[in-house]
């Protein structure tokens, strides 16, 4: 019997337990019609019994699935066939793994005849432990189910208990997201630590040359100096993209909140939001196939040297356009949050609309706008698709927007795609880069959220 059938069986038994619990509760509810003598409705008693029947058994199965492989291997090794196995850890492990996959049906034929001899003991051990697990699980279902069924009586607070189980389930669900984040961070730290045991953090963080090699060169140089990547990332994501996104986003927010007639606004806002939903790979196409060639031709025609078809400008401009809706909606929110009394006050002084916007609304909305811009920057520097497609791979330290630069995310993709050994510094460098990116975006987000929150409080 496979695991999924067992699982279904347990669920069905849970359903039966629910039914019995409910029947018993219905019976005593009927004999105690007075309000208050029966604490919970029959349904809750049913759920109470069902959860007791299912919960411990499923928990047991999870633990059993984790623990049993070790037990199975021990049992197989105890068989007479195991005596012929070689002593070396590595060869032994390979044979055992092979025998095991044959026994469980994942593999058809053995490459090593020794494995073939181990298959039978494995099969025996697997079915033995499976049987134990199954019987124990079913016994648990019955034992706990009966235990719970016996416990239900009129004054049992089944409703309260179900409430608590619901709360715990919800808590668990929310913990999963948190724990995953922590887990990702931990794995980044772990792999980065391995990288930094091979390449010094100083060389990595402050080195000026990015040319990753699997082995160190004659003078110990490794080519893992990440400054050009950091520069490229900042140049594209925080400088060029923001030069495009901040003014356009801000001006569109001002127009939409202050000047646009309501029906134009009703049209325009959803369109801007659609812009935010365009998959970044589409922007990437647009940058690589349309904007980049056009910019290069333009640069060549006005005689700029070093113009590349994979220019920082193309990637940055397109990224800026991608970010516009983001900046605009944050700015829109902050401007709308400035009390209208402020605006009226200024207008009543005889200020024009644009004077009011410039001298009162924007200064008052500034912290919110700054917060929005920081969030936008953090998005821009983590953005991958556009730069992978349009920014190029050459790690240049240049402020010429028409030449090619590379970014942290591009290089992570570059380092991880292709045939690499998993513990070479080249692969591990991707984790170190990821860690830096993670920390920087995290800090930006924290600062931005704090600024925005403070600003909100100012107008409570």
């Amino acid at each position: 019997m496979t695991g999924s059938i067992l699982f279904l069986l347990i669920i069905v038994l849970g359903g039966i337990a629910w039914f019995f619990g409910r029947v018993k509760a219905t019976r005593f509810s009927a004999t105690n019609p007075k309000r208050g003598t029966v604490h919970s409705l029959p349904n809750y008693h049913g759920w109470y019994v069902a959860l007791w029947a299912i919960g411990p058994a499923l928990l047991f199965l999870v633990i059993w699935n984790i623990a049993s492989p070790a037990l199975i291997t021990d049992a197989a090794l105890a068989s007479p066939a195991a005596e012929q196995l070689p002593q070396g850890q590595f060869a032994r492990g390979a044979i055992l793994a092979e025998a095991r996959s044959i026994a469980s049906g994942e593999q058809v034929r053995a490459f090593n005849p020794l494995s073939q001899s181990m298959v039978e003991p494995y099969k025996a051990a697997i079915s033995y432990y499976q049987m134990i697990g199954m019987v124990a699980a079913l016994l648990l279902v019955f034992a706990c189910g009966v235990f719970a069924w016996l416990r239900i009586k009129p004054e049992l607070r089944a409703r309260t208990k179900i409430e608590r189980v619901t709360m715990m389930t919800l808590l668990l669900a929310s913990l999963i997201a948190t724990i995953t984040t922590v887990g990702i961070f931990a794995s980044l730290i772990f792999e980065s630590a391995r990288f930094f045991s091979m390449v010094s953090p100083i060389d990595f963080l402050f080195g000026m040359e990015w040319n990753p090699k699997a082995v160190a060169g004659p003078r110990g140089e490794t080519g893992f100096g990440a400054i050009p990547l950091f520069w490229g990332t900042v140049f594209i994501g925080a400088i060029i993209a923001m030069i495009v996104a901040i003014p356009l986003g801000l001006m569109s927010a001002i127009y939409l909140t202050q000047y646009a007639p309501p029906n134009f606004r009703a049209w325009m806002k959803p369109i801007l939001e659609v812009l935010a939903g365009v998959p970044t790979v589409v922007y990437g196409y647009f940058a690589a196939l349309t904007v980049a060639p056009a910019l290069r031709d333009f640069a060549v025609s006005i005689g700029i040297s070093g113009a590349s078809s994979e220019s920082a400008l193309a990637a940055g401009v397109v990224m800026g356009i991608m970010i516009i809706p983001f900046v605009s909606s944050m700015a829109d929110d902050s401007i709308a949050a400035v009390p209208s009394a402020m605006r009226d006050g200024s207008l009543a002084m005889g200020a024009t609309k644009s004077e009011t916007i410039k001298k009162v609304l924007i200064p008052a909305a500034l912290p919110g706008v700054v917060g929005g811009v920081l969030l936008a920057v953090s998005r821009a520097i983590g953005e991958t698709m556009i730069v992978v497609m349009a920014a190029g791979l050459a790690a240049n330290m240049t402020a010429n927007p028409f030449s090619s630069v590379t970014t942290v995310t591009t290089q992570i993709v570059q380092l991880l795609t292709g045939d690499q050994e998993f513990d070479s510094p080249k692969t591990l460098a991707a984790f170190a880069l990821g860690l830096v990116l993670f920390i920087v975006t995290l800090l930006l987000n924290l600062i931005a959220l704090r600024v925005v929150k403070k600003y909100r409080e100012a107008y409570e």
Binding site: M342, L347, M349, G350, E355
Partner: protein, 280 residues
């Protein structure tokens, strides 16, 4: 309430007109602003119905009346702040020094510099005290030098009775002041552009009695320098600070006259009911 004036009301207001119109100009002293047959509509809804009033230089004019009767709406006509409400439409004639302020050639920005406004809730800009006062003079180019600007800031604050309290902290944020101080700051801000008329819409409703007393005292001192129109819910306040009182009801002007007459000897039944607290 869909119609502001129902049939019984309009017959009543007809008889009322006989006595109410003659005292349009309950003022003596030079005329500052006049309004003739002003109607205001919010969309299809009429909020002000044929109001004619004169505002004089030497008197403080108070608008009283039950909530929703259109006092704020009418006040905002006087400096065209209703322009900021897209659905509001104003008809009739309103003049400032004989000039029609709703005429096409009227520059609204200039008008609002001449007719300042103080709002119900203090609304200082989130800038320093100094910048709050200097805001108007700067946008209108009233000062040519830093000294001149400093001078305007100081006299405005002095006139608003705030100078002594804030002279050492002009660079602090205007929003850090107490509610009463903020409201005097707003009055100082209005004074700083040297207006001819100051409109105040329930300037004390967000303030405690002591701050209120200070503002009332201030209004006394400002009287004569500026034509002042004040909306208030507080009838004692109207009696204390004003020399002329206009009583509004459901968008119409019921009675307008010398404050002491209105309070001691109103000609209209509705006015009497209102000031004796029978409704409103």
């Amino acid at each position: 309430m869909t119609e502001l004036v129902d049939s019984t009301n309009s017959s009543e207001s007809y008889t009322m007109t006989e006595s109410a119109v003659p005292n349009i100009s309950a003022g003596d002293g030079p005329l500052k602003m006049t309004t003739r047959n002003v109607d205001v509509f919010y969309g299809d809804k009429q909020a002000i119905n044929g109001v004619s009033i004169d505002v004089t230089m030497d008197n403080v004019t108070a608008f009283i009346g039950p909530s929703g009767c259109g006092k704020s709406t009418f006040l905002r006509c006087l400096n065209r702040m209703n322009d900021t409400i897209p659905i509001a439409k104003v008809t009739g004639e309103i003049t400032l020094e004989g000039e029609d302020i709703y005429a096409a050639k009227m520059d609204v920005v200039q008008l609002r510099a001449r007719v300042g406004m103080v709002f119900q809730k203090p609304n200082p800009f989130p800038k320093s005290i100094y910048d709050n006062i200097a805001y108007g003079p700067r946008i209108h180019g009233l000062a040519t030098s830093k000294d001149e600007l400093d001078n305007i800031v100081e006299t405005s604050l002095q006139r608003a009775g705030l100078w002594r309290e804030v002279q050492d902290r002009l660079q602090d944020s205007g929003t850090a002041l107490s509610g009463g101080q903020q409201q005097r700051l707003c009055i100082a801000r209005a004074i700083a552009v040297d207006p001819e008329v100051i409109l105040m819409d329930e300037p004390c409703s967000a303030l405690d009695p002591i701050a209120t007393a200070k503002i009332e005292e201030l209004i006394h001192e400002l009287r004569g320098k500026y034509a002042i129109v004040i909306v208030t819910h507080n009838m004692q306040q109207a009696a204390r600070v004003s020399q002329r009182t206009a009583f509004f009801h459901l968008g119409t002007l019921v009675e307008y006259g010398v404050t002491s007459d209105i309070f001691t000897n109103p000609t209209q039944e509705k006015t009497r009911d209102y000031i004796t607290g029978r409704y409103g």
